[in-house]
Symmetry: C2
Subunit: 156 residues, 2 copies
């Protein structure tokens, strides 16, 4: 079996259990020590002028707080992902964090392309709770539009 060349595997992670399960699957089944593992988190675009439900423009304080919360979320997801890797003893794997901003389905495909990923791995459900209403839409889109092989992992 030929497993020489460094492969680059991009795993889309978010705050869902399913994305952590997808990461575990990836480490157990796909990743070897010669691979590069890219943990990709996509956050929704920052709101410069945001209206709340009642039509008020958010004050800078609120925007700052949201920004801080969003960075906190990124860090907590990334730390959880790295802990998952450690738990599965994938400590020799070359790992990298990438944070994208925008519409998850487009950002995931374009990052996979830009990084020249060999494989894209993701959970089957929505990406982040902003998206969860449209179950599966992100993975559907990526399975169709990403140029590399895409692994869709369901939480059992």
């Amino acid at each position: 079996m030929e497993k020489m060349k460094e492969r680059k595997i991009v795993v889309a992670v978010d705050e869902s259990q399913e994305s952590m399960y997808a990461l575990s699957w990836c480490i157990t089944n796909l990743v070897s020590d010669t691979n590069k593992l890219v943990l990709l988190y996509v956050k929704p675009p920052s709101a410069f002028y945001s209206l709340d439900a009642a039509g008020y423009i958010f004050s800078n304080d609120v925007i700052d707080a949201m920004e801080k919360y969003s960075m906190h979320l990124v860090n907590s997801v990334m730390e959880r992902a790295e802990a998952t890797c450690r738990d599965l003893k994938a400590t020799n794997v070359n790992m990298e964090r990438v944070v994208g901003v925008g519409d998850a389905k487009d950002v995931i495909c374009s990052v996979a392309k830009k990084l020249d990923a060999d494989t894209l791995v993701m959970g089957s459900h929505g990406y982040g709770f902003f998206k969860r209403a449209i179950l599966g839409s992100v993975s559907d889109h990526c399975a169709k539009h990403a140029e590399c092989p895409v692994v869709i992992v369901k939480h059992p």
Copy 2:
């Protein structure tokens, strides 16, 4: 990395280049010697009473010929798949042929479930030339409905 337990990987193969590429990807990236590789081919249901385009009922001779052709197709795809495995030096992998009959998208999901597959691998395009008009429909369906992780591989 934990790669002990025998995993069962089902690869859906058909007469397309893409499905052979998906198989190559699978062997190069996913399969190790302790895995069981199931080559799954799905043929459309046999026609007992078939009308041709002009509305004539096919004679038994035509049906026999079609049946023979379909078995020939199964064998040629399976042999090509096994040759692909040999070419990639995956000669120690425990391999099995499974031929299903029916609607590819349903048969693939149900075989994966029945065999308790750990992973299902397939090309991104239609399954067999009967289906190719509806590009991607089979892999879309399987990515949504199969219970195990699904790898969708595109021909580059």
